[in-house]
């Protein structure tokens, strides 16, 4: 493959699917005391045999369809044999010969499209606990609760060219997963391995394994690019190797070189069979899929009358969609205030929307603010002020009562903002000379009329709004 970019990045992402039971047995996909959610199958006891969870396959097909993949008409599983203390059988049941999905795409937020090489289903190994640090403990402790969890692996083409793009990819993927309802961030893991190479080294590939979350992707890759560039500058040789990521220090460390990796010796798993993924099943799955971003965007615009910008921003983030659809209030108003104000205050506190827990309190607080706006009890300016306070409260994880705040700071607008129209009309009639002066170019003359209106409203109107209203009326 001919590269000419400075940086070439490909990702392999493992997504835990939110089924009730494991991929090959009936143990629950859940938290529990160590080894309390196990059975002969996920413990790899001799004599046990796997049985495929249909729902896990369905979820994976949903993902394949939403990524525009070609779906294999006949599905099979393979054994990938390698030895490690977290493996219940020292082989992993995965898909090697024929992946479930291939040749898909995912669109980044700037419209760039990243190719998806393959999507397949496989089982999770167990979890390891190290007594002490990973380096000096004399043994490991193994919990097989996680053994057999269903995973969907998404492998991208090496078409990303910066840590920011990789981060955005992860974010978009998580968004799609949320939309599809196949991933539960509370129960399921999502981890990525990143392949990265830089022009300066002649594109020698390093693999960074086990990165959790899209923020860490950016950190890990940022560090790795810097490390490689530094090494090249110091005339050191970059070797093809596997590296781990230490989230606490934000650094990568060497794990092993490719040469020492064992051959996996893939065979088809003869305890499993061939599974037909027919047109009928695919159609049923497609029909039962929840509304995807594109459809949502169109519905928001056509049926709810949102502006195309608002619809676009909302639909591209599942969290915002959840918030929007729970607010149950004038959709155009809600959309506008989510897009402009909610996102603004979240960003101001360097939070990501996914960091915000959309609980009942938060939703009702926001709803109250919007209610006051829609009932014209407060001005937009006041609304923004409330959003600032709301943002502070979210960041501090505290509660916020907008109604109390408004009363306390005497921010209630004049009784009815439609009264403002009346006051403006009056002021225009009462101050014809000033209006005429303004019309002939005297800007300051308008301010005088504004003052008159402010007196009528006893200072509760928003001067900016008054100016606009007067200007409108004068036209």
């Amino acid at each position: 493959m001919g590269f000419d970019a400075d940086v070439v990045i490909g990702l392999e992402i493992h997504v835990g699917l939110s089924t009730e039971s494991k991929l090959f047995c009936g143990c629950a996909v859940d938290e529990g005391e160590p080894n309390s959610l196990t059975c002969p199958i996920c413990l790899g006891m001799p004599g046990s045999k796997p049985k495929l969870n249909r729902k896990a396959v369905e979820y994976a097909i949903r993902l394949c369809l939403s990524l525009g993949c070609e779906v294999a008409p006949l599905m099979m599983f393979s054994r990938k044999t390698y030895f490690y203390p977290d493996m219940s059988k020292n082989y992993q049941i995965t898909q090697y010969e024929v992946p479930l999905g291939s040749n898909g795409v995912l669109e980044l937020s700037d419209g760039k499209v990243v190719g998806i090489e393959r999507v397949h289903v496989e089982e999770d190994p167990a979890s390891l606990v190290h007594a002490g640090s990973i380096r000096d403990s004399p043994f490991v402790l193994v919990d097989y609760n996680r053994s057999g969890h269903p995973l969907c692996e998404v492998v991208t083409r090496p078409e990303m060219h910066s840590p920011e793009e990789a981060r955005d990819f992860m974010r978009q993927l998580i968004n799609v997963l949320n939309y599809l309802g196949i991933f539960d961030p509370k129960r399921c893991i999502i981890k990525a391995d990143a392949n990265i190479s830089i022009k300066e080294s002649g594109y020698v590939r390093a693999e960074v394994k086990n990165i959790s979350g899209f923020k860490d992707i950016e950190r890990a890759l940022g560090y790795e690019i810097a490390r490689q560039r530094q090494a090249v500058a110091e005339d050191k040789v970059i070797i093809q190797e596997t590296r781990g990521f230490d989230a606490s220090s934000g650094t990568t460390f060497s794990m092993r070189t490719k040469e020492t990796e064992d051959d996996y010796g893939y065979i088809l798993d003869p305890d499993l069979v061939e599974y037909v993924v027919g047109e009928g099943w695919k159609k049923d799955i497609a029909a039962s899929m929840p509304e995807l971003p594109k459809e949502k965007r169109e519905r928001y615009e056509k049926e709810l009358g949102l502006s195309s910008d608002d619809a676009h921003v909302l639909a591209s983030d599942y969290q915002l969609v959840l918030l929007f659809e729970r607010l149950d209030i004038d959709p155009v108003l809600a959309a506008r205030w989510i897009r402009r104000e909610f996102v603004r205050v979240i960003n101001y506190h360097s939070l990501d929307i996914t960091d915000v827990e959309l609980n009942d309190d938060l939703v009702s607080t926001f709803k109250n603010i919007l209610k006051m706006l829609s009932e014209k009890k407060i001005t937009d300016k006041t609304g923004q002020q409330l959003m600032d306070e709301f943002g502070n409260a979210i960041a501090a994880k505290e509660a916020f009562d907008p109604e109390t705040y408004v009363k306390k700071h005497d921010l209630l607008a004049i009784g009815d903002l439609s009264e403002l129209d009346g006051f403006c009309k009056e002021a225009i009639v009462e101050n014809q000379k000033a209006i005429d002066d303004y019309k002939s170019g005297n800007e300051g003359a308008l301010n005088f009329v504004v003052g008159q209106v402010m007196r009528k409203t006893r200072g509760k109107a928003d001067p900016k709004e008054v100016i606009e209203k007067l200007k409108e009326m004068i036209q």
């Binding site: 009730e20 309390s36 959610l37 196990t38 049985k51 490690y84 004399p138 064992d262 499993l272």
Partner: protein, 91 residues
């Protein structure tokens, strides 16, 4: 080409260590068998058969079944601690 190094490499992959004696003994035996295996080269090319009979679509519903009691899971070994299995170092 099969030689002692190759046998050792495969044995290492499979986590089996052969003594020098065993390696010496196995080498000609394994060579013979591999040579004999080559007979299938001349067989006609056909579709693969994963099983002797065609079996399709053995699925499970996504229903949680009762797991094995923890004590049963742990009873088969002495290598355990605080409800975990103990295993050899990962590094």
């Amino acid at each position: 080409m099969l030689d002692k190094d190759m046998i050792r490499k495969i044995a290492k992959n499979a986590k089996v260590e052969l003594t020098e004696e065993e390696t010496k003994e196995f080498l000609p035996q394994i060579e013979d068998v591999l040579e004999w295996f080559k007979a299938i080269e001349n067989a006609p090319d056909m579709e693969m058969s994963m099983h002797p009979i065609k079996i399709r679509d053995a699925f499970r519903d996504d229903i949680v079944e009762q797991s094995m009691p923890k004590e049963y899971a742990l009873q088969g070994t002495d290598h355990k601690k605080d409800g975990y299995f103990k295993g050899p170092r990962a590094v």
